[in-house]
């Protein structure tokens, strides 16, 4: 076999003064990067197999291991960077599409970091959330144009609403792309927090049906695991048209990951490839989408809100206007930083638009058309902290989805190797030896902590602005100022520049 031109990306450094040869690293690395040499009584490393997931580093009881970027340099070249060269080597060796996992990691501007939040000074009082009530409760769903009241009671029934204690939900991540334990942790946390998690397109495992009140069931192009019982098992239904990480691209769960449990949950034969087509083959227009929305509403007796999720692309505002008119109760927009278990690298890194622009454009358009109250807007794709959530809500979102942040809370280290199925943290894998590494109770506890912490911070920020309910911040772009943005960018975001 000809020699590979790819050199190790990372170097495993072991401090021999601290290494006690306990071999925890050897047992923990699913990539087999650590090897114990019995004759020499030493632990050795095969650097080429290391993906820098920090599993060994974290589990090493004497902190003997460090992973470094391989200092090996190519001749400096602004055009032919190391990654550009390495990607060509990889394709020249394999002849394949480059795959990757998680969200776009290229240095495109992060517009959240170019928006600043307001606070009250002198002319209006700020509020201390520790002393005064502060409301984060959010309802997602179609709101009536007006309320008709008769004898002090609502005359007409409200359209179905999703009630969230905090305007944050866990994004769609399927059983298949992530492990059962990860799904269970998300479900347990959502249930404890009074928020929603989303099944993704992998169906709903029978053991997770008990979390139905906090579940959004997804219907995607593969229609895996969809039957009337499934549609009625959750609190809402989401039609997935697109995903921020790979707009215009379907999905492919390789047959080796289709275990007995996944086969049963997805309702497909054991070991068969689960292929989600790029389009829904019954949706070629807004009218077709309307048919599916109403089929699903019919199947659930108009008791559950129906969401439509799309990737943020060039004409997102017009598309969302169509989706609202097609009868969706909730629109989810997933920005180009959205995560994935597997996507072609070129698609992930080059297709789609930033969520900040998409969200602002959609909110503006729906308001201009007078249909904003007909739908709730959910913003997804690369939300990293509570300030991003506050900014998204001020830009016009009703709630946000977090996927990658939730995975990181459960132990993900962003090595971007989800597609290999060898996730050392027990998240993006179906290998029973690895799945066990994620204790659902610990995962759920960490997720609950994260959302509670964010909720506290959001209350602090709201209080600072002199606002005591998240509802008063929704679409309140006066609370944002741009920094380092062009006037065109400020126009699209609909915010003023800092100092204005």
């Amino acid at each position: 076999m000809a020699i590979s031109l790819l050199t190790p990306e990372f170097i495993i450094e072991r401090n021999d003064e601290r290494c006690i040869r306990c071999q925890v690293c050897v047992r923990q690395c699913a990539n087999l990067a650590h090897i114990y040499d019995e004759e020499e009584d030493r632990v050795l490393a095969d650097d080429s197999k290391c993906v820098n997931c920090h599993r060994c580093v974290t589990l090493c009881p004497t902190r003997a291991i460090t992973i470094r970027k391989n200092p090996l340099e190519f001749k400096e070249n602004a055009n032919w960077t190391a990654s550009a060269i390495r990607e060509i080597y990889k394709q020249a060796e394999t002849g394949g599409i480059l795959l990757t996992g998680m969200g776009n990691d290229k240095p495109y501007p992060v517009y959240w970091d170019r928006m600043l939040i307001n606070a009250s000074q002198v002319t209006n009082p700020s509020i201390d959330p520790l002393r005064e009530p502060m409301e984060l409760k959010t309802f997602l769903g179609r709101k009536p144009e007006m309320l008709k009241v008769e004898n002090g009671k609502l005359k007409e029934k409200l359209p179905p609403q999703l009630e969230l204690e905090v305007p944050i939900m866990f994004s769609a991540m399927s059983f298949g792309s992530i492990s059962f334990n990860a799904c269970q942790a998300l479900a347990m946390a959502a249930s404890e927090l009074g928020i929603m998690y989303n099944t993704g397109e992998g169906g709903l495992h029978k053991d997770l049906r008990k979390y139905g009140k906090n579940t959004i069931v997804q219907v995607a192009s593969g229609r895996f695991g969809v039957d009337p019982e499934y549609l009625n098992a959750g609190a809402a239904i989401e039609i997935k048209i697109g995903q921020g990480a790979k707009p215009g691209i379907g999905g492919h769960l390789p047959g080796e990951k289709v275990t007995a449990q996944i086969s049963q949950t997805r309702m497909i034969p054991l070991g068969s490839d689960a292929i989600s087509p790029a389009p829904h083959h019954d949706i070629y227009s807004i009218e077709d989408l309307r048919q599916l929305i109403f089929s699903l509403k019919e199947a659930t007796d108009y008791q559950k809100p129906v969401a439509v999720k799309i990737a943020a692309v060039h004409n997102v505002a017009a598309i969302c206007s169509g989706i609202a008119r097609a009868g969706a109760d909730i629109i989810v927009i997933d920005g180009f930083r959205g995560g994935t278990g597997a996507a072609p690298l070129r698609i992930r890194d080059n297709v789609g638009i930033p969520i900040e622009f998409a969200l602002a454009a959609v909110d503006t358009r729906l308001r201009q058309e007078g249909i904003r109250s007909q739908v709730s807007l959910v913003c997804a794709g690369g939300i990293r902290n509570s300030a991003d959530v506050i900014k998204a809500i001020a830009l016009g979102a009703d709630a946000v989805y977090i996927g990658q942040a939730a995975l990181i809370a459960m132990g993900c280290h962003m090595c971007q190797k989800c597609y290999t199925g060898k996730c050392n943290w027990g998240i993006a894998t179906q290998d029973p030896n690895l799945v066990k590494r994620l204790n659902p109770e610990i995962g759920a506890r960490r997720l609950v902590n994260l959302i509670k912490a964010w909720a506290h911070e959001m209350k602090e920020m709201l209080g600072g602005m002199g606002i005591n309910a998240i509802e008063s911040l929704r679409g309140n772009r006066f609370m944002l100022r741009g920094i380092g943005l062009t006037s065109r960018e400020l126009d699209i975001l609909g915010i003023k520049a800092a100092g204005e």
Binding site: I20, R27, Q28, P61, N433, K436, R437
Partner: protein
């Protein structure tokens, strides 16, 4: 029976669903019973004769779990012990081997249905078994250091709550 002076007996349980087979429990158990106590580096670097781990990870992947003395309600090892070294403490419910009285006849090893008593040739010529880290006065090292909470202490009052 006067219950006022009874400490609720505790036992360590394993959750095989989430045991990841890392064997950190064994490693920390060795250190906890060495003369360097909880110093892993000194225990492993300086001692050529280290204590045996008193917890052993039984493995038939993907199944694995840490196994140590169950501190049985009616311990076979105590009944089998010819010198009276192996005793069940009526207060704590723990089965403890008095190493001063133990002569290393290993009858207890034959009697133990769980195979959790081992012959410690390396340290002293005595039977080695889980002592619940009583001397340290701390939470047992295996439970404290299990990275995935696959070991936990549960109070078992059933037997003593008569």
């Amino acid at each position: 029976m006067d219950k006022s002076n009874i400490t609720a007996p505790k036992r360590i349980y394993a959750k095989e669903d989430v045991c990841i087979g890392c064997r950190l429990c064994e490693i920390h158990c060795i250190a906890a019973h060495s003369k360097y106590r909880h110093d892993l580096i000194k225990t492993f670097k300086k001692l050529s004769k280290r204590p045996l781990p008193r917890i052993v990870v039984e493995e038939d992947v993907p199944l694995s779990f840490g196994l140590q003395c169950r501190h049985c309600d009616d311990p076979e090892c105590v009944k089998a012990c010819i010198t009276g070294a192996m005793q069940k403490d009526p207060k704590t419910g723990l089965v403890i081997n008095d190493t001063e009285r133990c002569i290393g006849c290993w009858t207890c090893i034959l009697a133990c249905p769980y195979g959790v008593i081992r012959r410690d040739y390396t340290n002293k010529k005595v039977a080695s078994k889980c002592d619940f880290c009583l001397e340290s006065g701390l939470e047992p090292a295996c439970v404290k250091n299990c990275p995935n909470e696959a070991l936990y202490i549960k109070n078992t009052i059933k037997y003593y709550d008569l």
